[in-house]
Symmetry: C2
Subunit: 304 residues, 2 copies
């Protein structure tokens, strides 16, 4: 029997193009989603997806179901917004903690969009540095943590947001600009300008430099613009998300290069308690974030 959960899965499948990623999106294992698809196919007596090399493609039946799903999910969303207003719970708050500094940049416009749909939900940013933001969820200190950490933990749900490339940012006249991509060794004699957070929070250090035994000098700045200003004035190099520096690169204020042959990619997640994950307004927030980020930010792709 067709249920809304099947529709959700199908939409995720249509949007990600593979069973595994779709499964992650709807918090299932690849296996579970595979079984689900099989059940649907035997129920309707028609294939829903077609193997197509590595990925899967929706058949005509599948597309019809996705169309249904989109429409139904839209209606459900609208209805749930209205129900939330009718609910007895008076003022609700969504407290958001950020693990990554740059996220401020895209979060603000998304909060504005969200406020239109859910005026009765109070939005708060939990500021300051926190050694273990995810633990704050369990402690009830925050409701949503946005970051890249993704180690499974009892009672905590990770919602994939998007995937982006971390680029090395150089002064326009820096000699390394000649290389197509930078390697760990290239940073050895540079000063690395970062946000004021511990080393293990900086992808470049944790995933590239430290494994290669490279420890460049470090200097910190609070704001993205401040970091870029330091780079432009040749005080060092930085590693920042592609979407965060696009404008500065376009205007030739700085130049950007990939880190490593395939680039250094990072996945952004939203973490919540299992209970919060059930709240319609939270689901809506995450969906808004994904949708808006894909359309606003350049170089952002679905989580892999």
């Amino acid at each position: 029997m067709l249920e809304i959960r099947h529709l959700r899965s199908l939409v995720a499948l249509a949007e990600t193009g593979t069973v595994s990623r779709a499964a992650e999106r709807v918090h299932l294992t690849q296996s579970a989603l595979s079984h689900q698809l099989k059940a649907l196919e035997s129920h309707y007596g028609a294939p829903v997806v077609k193997r197509h090399g590595q990925s899967v493609k929706l058949t005509e039946s599948g597309q019809r179901l996705v169309a249904l799903a989109r429409s139904v999910m839209g209606e459900v969303q609208t209805a749930e917004r209205e129900l939330a207003k009718l609910a007895k719970t008076p003022a609700r708050t969504l407290r958001i903690a950020l693990e990554c500094h740059t996220c401020f940049d895209w979060l603000m416009p998304i909060m504005d969009v969200f406020r239109k749909d859910w005026p009765e939900v109070e939005l708060d940013l939990v500021s300051g540095f926190h050694p273990n933001p995810v633990a704050m969820l369990a402690d009830g200190k925050t409701d949503l943590v946005i970051g890249s950490e993704n180690k499974p933990r009892r009672g905590i749900v990770f919602h994939p947001l998007f995937r982006f490339e971390v680029l090395a940012v150089l002064p326009t006249d820096h000699p390394l600009r000649e290389k197509r991509y930078l390697s760990a060794g290239d940073f050895a004699r540079e000063t690395l300008i970062t946000y004021p957070v511990p080393e293990e929070r900086i992808d470049l250090i944790r995933r590239v430099l430290r494994p290669a035994g490279v420890r460049p000098a470090r200097r910190t700045a609070e704001l993205t613009v401040a970091i870029l200003q330091l780079v432009a004035s040749r005080r060092g190099v930085a590693a920042l998300p592609n979407w965060g520096i696009k404008n500065y690169v376009d205007y030739k204020y700085v130049v950007a290069r990939s880190i490593g042959r395939n680039g250094l990619w990072s996945n952004l997640h939203g973490a919540t308690t299992a209970e919060m994950a059930r709240q319609p307004f939270l689901r809506d927030f995450l969906e808004t974030a994904r949708r808006e980020c894909f359309s606003r930010l350049d170089g952002v792709v679905p989580v892999q």
Copy 2:
């Protein structure tokens, strides 16, 4: 998390007005539906139904959900019809066996409506008398049995259709017409005109006359009009569904009286195998039948 099954339950609740009957409609126990409602209410933080004496009324939230449900179920239905056409299964057949003779009268127009939505489904009427029609389901001799029998049986699902009153039909000048309602004893000296089926299939005999030890003379006729013609010409009395004789009573061809103080009521069900019950076209057929009967037939009420 909201699922389509919740929406189905809510529609049933809105249409029947009580939890018990709604539960029967969606093949659940009263308890299960009660739990379901509670879960919905705690999920949305708002009551969905309000106790209102014997029955229950939907709250504003409940009504909003029912509106959602109606819309979603309509879309699902449309989509499933289209999927059925895309399915590999070539020609499918719905074989209908009737336990009650009069049912021909309302079934024909419903089959016409159904054919428009599901042109690819072949409709067959399984004719002739069958001692145990429900057993034919298990034997694969038929797909749907319409009748009043309702004893639970492994693998067989009973879908409530509607409830109607069986009225005594008398010649216009019969002395019993003076009574507001007839009792078992009143039939003692009458000839009872029935369809040619065994006694236990005739509600009046099984539920009223036999318990009272009354055994009137019997005479049979195949068609409803033939029975009415016999009654009108004073060859005996009959017991027929209210909706089947309305026109004849309105034109004073015969008169009708209740049987017993509260009338003799009968529930009509459609029985299928559990597997067939899952088929979208079958669900659609039953829904069409219910909808059309309620709007076409006078004196028809939901199953109690």
